[in-house]
Symmetry: C2
Subunit: 467 residues, 2 copies
């Protein structure tokens, strides 16, 4: 029979298996997708399995699961493991509170609010600001869009669209902007994609031109999404100049900092977010730059009345005690909501704001190491720019898709590719702050050694390699 | 300096603190909301704190956090602790995969799909069915509404509303139905609330009448939400009869089983969901009836083409290998997505479908115990009905709000109140399957003893008590 003490013991044993696997097989014992159900016993059936068999199956699953915390994982906009944040999230699982009411979440409400209020202060939002923890970066952008929509067309909430609402974002922004326009009832066709400069940053004058045209044509511009860290290039849109345009036409400015918004923790790099205090909403993912486990997304709102304006609800069966300031469900998209705040708080409490700054700075240091390496090596063609933690390059003209796929399928290292305008290239992300410079240099060594050993696999003949 | 081994050790120590607290203070050392920031050091500052101080603060936080796993917590539609599910969720934190691609989630993709496919089969959906894990029950209903909207008005995705779409739900359904109509661009005013019978169940003939009127008035009925376990009474809408109406007018039928949809695991109680295989979508929360940690929500879709129709997206930077069937991000609301499947899978694998059935059946057994107790005791007025795990009652005519608040503030037991038509009453939820009958009887003893000892606090004078 299961009980919590036995299962905590089993957890510790399996965690040990995982940590040892990360050491000896830092990518994973990869199983081809088509073979998955033949190789692993993932089946569920009428009878359960005893703990001994369960442990054996779980060990197989752990071995085959991609390792995101090791120094050979560079594939996503997250990676690594801040152990004090892991501690907080493990405790959140054990505590199992839902964040809607003080009655059920108690001090966890204060923990969430402390993070929100401290973040608001750091970016320069005023006394009326507040925020919430959506379940991801897409959801953060979505909540911002809903608020903007409801400000521009106050009847939208109750009646649906009554004006020809438009949203604006750069061509390099996250794909959630298009999906969200569909979900929010604005329509994908009513998103205007603003041209970017050669660095992938939105051009404010192009935004201004487009808005003028649209107003003249009878549309209602409602929402501008600026990005702090675009998905592929890691570019920062010029917030201050975009804020000028938004103020001129009274349009909601949201800054999507899911990827690199955490830069506000760094005295050295917060200038990349210059003007952020002029935005109406700002979101960042602590599971990206801060390194907490998935998911830990925060949206901050300059005037909290918009949060309640769009998301409030009355539910007598739920909100029964303690007052609205402590019943966080009144300003969330959802009803029941997992405690995503504790993991961020345990890390922040433990390392301090100064420690978070070091975590962020380290990512830029690692990016400099990687960027210098590719810039100073003529085998590499470089596609990225300063002040980004996405290092984009090709190696010896090898097709990026082919090389990434081969490195992944051979379980050498995990990295992805991206595209900007006509170019496709490998995108190396230096977001794992537990890495050291040597781990980045090792990545290039792994890649280069792999190409030497597998010229055919990457579409090279040995003559090219010798050249 | 933090490292994962030290912090796993610290986790074990703090988990021990929690388990001991649950034993000696099964409600919590409650802190009044207004005193919270004075009593606990929740502040975040430039400097971090050493582990010894951190542990001390965390101990205080754990002591003051409401305990949802004990046998005195009856407040929400979740509670208790299935330890094999906790094990899975702890491992999910350590593994930290994002569920959008096979490249990053590997076998976790198969784990999620196994749960979905097994669930689809059990409710009688066919070969074309599939599903996903939204981040909660509200989000599940929301995804269903978006799909229904896009079927009824195929231009909606790209252009916004082009028809006068309507959604239907019972007056007793979850408040997310109204919020979701706003979020989806349909508008709160375009939700029709259908009358319920004396048991709180939607009346199908009233639904039919309303739809006929609306069609005659030029509206486009698009979505019917039936509820399996209403929020307050725990009532099951008659799905089969509602499906007749939906088929007649070709309207999307969603069954919101967030609360009690898990009844399909029980041979004895699955009749409460009769007709479920005729629905277009069905959602249930494993963090409710199944007892996993928050959140674990599943939406199943009878024809999976609607999932991709409404939620698919192209993102070349993300979907690079392994094919669409294994890249789950193509059918989710979000981009990055936490692994909410593993905790359900570890429990199911370990106890089998038979074990899940026992978990569900136990809740109905406990409900019978509680219902019989209040029915057979003239001090109680009973407001609930058979086949529900919400036991609704008042005691000695005491105001439900007053009594619940007093029990909570004195930390005797945590329970909430609800409303049906003109009546307000205490709602006791028997969802914690780790409880035994004696725990339910103990709840009543706690309540009755409290009233005897605190007549003034609950607005009684002792004369009434003696009567």
């Amino acid at each position: 029979m299961s009980n919590i003490n036995n299962d905590l013991k089993l957890f510790n044993e399996l965690a040990k298996v995982l940590l040892e696997e990360e050491r000896v097989n830092p990518v994973a014992k990869r199983i081809d997708a088509q073979e998955l159900y033949n190789v692993l016993d993932l089946s569920l059936s009428d009878e359960g399995v005893p703990d001994s068999e369960f442990k054996s199956v779980m060990t197989d699953v752990i071995e085959a699961t991609p390792k995101t915390a090791t120094n050979l994982f560079f594939n996503q906009l997250f990676g690594g493991r801040q152990s004090k944040a892991v501690l907080g999230d493990l405790l959140a699982v054990m505590l199992n509170n839902s964040m809607y009411t003080y009655k059920v979440a108690g001090p966890q409400v204060g923990i969430e609010q402390e993070i929100i209020k401290r973040s608001c202060k750091m970016i320069g939002y005023g006394e009326n600001s507040n925020g919430t923890f959506p379940t991801g970066g897409s959801m953060s952008n979505y909540m911002a869009l809903i608020m903007a929509r409801d400000v521009a067309d106050p009847k939208f909430r109750n009646e649906g669209k009554t004006k020809n609402i438009l949203a604006y974002s750069s061509a390099e922004s996250h794909y959630s902007n298009a999906k969200n326009a569909s979900f929010a009832g604005i329509g994908r066709n009513n998103v205007r994609y603003i041209e970017t400069d050669e660095f992938g940053k939105m051009i404010p004058s192009k935004l201004d031109d487009q808005i003028q045209k649209d107003i003249a044509a009878g549309f209602t511009p409602a929402f501008v999404n600026a990005t702090a860290g675009t998905t592929v290039l890691g570019a920062f849109d010029p917030i201050d100049a975009i804020a000028d345009v938004c103020e001129k036409y009274l349009i909601w400015l949201h800054v999507d900092g899911a990827y690199s918004g955490g830069a506000f923790f760094s005295k050295k790099y917060k200038h990349l977010l210059k003007g952020i205090e002029r935005s109406d909403s700002f979101s960042y993912n602590a599971h990206k730059m801060i390194g907490t486990p998935m998911t830990c997304s925060i949206i901050l709102v300059n005037d909290k009345k918009h949060l309640s304006g769009s998301f409030s609800n009355d539910a007598e069966y739920l909100y029964q005690t303690d007052g609205d300031d402590f019943n966080l469900g009144k300003t969330s998209f959802q009803c029941g909501r997992r405690n995503d705040a504790l993991k961020f708080w345990t890390l922040w409490k433990s390392v301090g704001t100064n420690g978070l700054e070091q975590i962020v700075d380290q990512q830029f240091i690692l990016a400099d190491v990687a960027r210098n390496y590719v810039r100073n090596n003529s085998d590499y063609q470089v596609y990225s720019f300063d002040d980004s933690i996405s290092i984009c390059f090709n190696y010896k003209g090898i097709d990026a898709n082919v090389l990434c796929t081969a490195l992944y399928e051979q379980q050498e290292t995990v990295v992805g590719f991206g595209k900007f305008r006509e170019d496709t290239f490998i995108r190396l992300v230096t977001i794992n702050a537990t890495n050291e410079s040597e781990n980045l240099l090792n990545f290039f060594k792994v890649l280069e050694d792999f190409v030497v050993k597998n010229p055919k696999l990457v579409g090279l003949n040995s003559a090219v390699l010798d050249a």
